[in-house]
Amino acid sequence: MTDDNPSIDRPRGDEPPAGEPPTEPTAEQPTEAQATEQRPAPPPASGPRRLRRSSGDRVVVGVAGGLGRYFNVDPVIFRIGFGLSVFFGGLGAFAYLLLAVFVPTDGDPDRAQRAGGRLQSIGLWRGLALVALGLVALGGLFVLAGGAAFAVALGWGIPVAIVVIALGALLALTARSGGARWLIPPAVAIAMGAGVAAASDVDIRGGIGERDYRPLSAEAIPADGYGFGMGHLVVDLRAIDWAQERVVNLDVDLGVGQADVFVPASVCVTGSTHVGAGESLVAGEQDEGTDVDNDVASGSAAVPRLVIDADLDIGQLRVVNSDTADADDGGYGPGSFHDDSALLRDAQARACAAR
């Protein structure tokens, strides 16, 4: 038997003599097609069953097709599993990547298999060193992006923008002489950091640190309010005699960080707040996201009343109407942070209904 005609596996003794025409098939002698159907499957190769990626049944690199064949189930089940796993931590996507690289294909070696071969040839220590190098490079890009954002927040937006434009122009100019692709990641990192900081209108020129203000009267509050660049700002107005002051105006302006304003539970909180990106919790009303604007109890004439104008670029703004809350404690009484916000909403409703 040769590879050219594998359909008939006839014993040598049954072959007709040379020169004699082959005999017609009889009822006992099956045709070639019948012989092909009746021929037993070739014996399985010795050794354990091997997992191979499928070269025929593949959507990406044949991982699900190979797993389906190995476990004798529909590969669609694996495809759905891998797809869903992306939305639940991405562990399945990571597993898919590992299988794609380290499980060989049953056909000609593809790109994933070649990459796996290269990785295996590198060795463990060299591989770890490469991973460490990659992490350092990634960290460097984060530092570049953070540095650019910091510079923009310090008011150097225009110089940083010019640097970004110059990097872009340099890249475009080098394109004719082979290009400078290595410049793309750092340039993109700088552009990203600068872009996010510029769009957030972050301004940290007012300083960095922690400020704690506890004025004893409305007159002690500066006309332009309280504010600084980056850090934790606490304005506690609970020492004010609210029965005498009745209405207190307060401006708060923070670049990046957390701003906490405290008033007694009996005070109606009114005014407007803006958070560029982050979370806003004003008298128990919680919002989060980008450009979070909140008009609180607008038009209320209740007294005592706080009229606040707060602006936070990035971070968390809290206006807490509670007699017991503490700036160092996230909660306002028993229970977790969010459960307690109902207490603040109730207090606000009572305070703003009073006249």
Binding site: V152, G157, I158, V160, A161, I162, V163, V164, I165, A166, L167, G168, A169, L170, L171, A172, L173, T174, A175, R176, S177, G178, G179, A180, R181, L183, I184, A187, V188, A191, M192, A194, G195, V196, A198, A199, S200, G276, A277, T290, D291
Partner: protein, 62 residues
Amino acid sequence: MRTDPVSLASGAAIAALGALVLLDSSGALDVSLGWIAVALSAALGVIVLVSGFAKDDSGRQD
């Protein structure tokens, strides 16, 4: 020497981002975080897309 399309497209995209930052920082334009996210995604998309096409072209030449 042949022009590198990836460097050319990336340079243009990054310069456009820089122009956006410049306009915002100078007060000529008020770009929101949402729009900067769109611009950054578009720039990254252009870079990835052109890189993919460039790789495809070089593969065909092999």
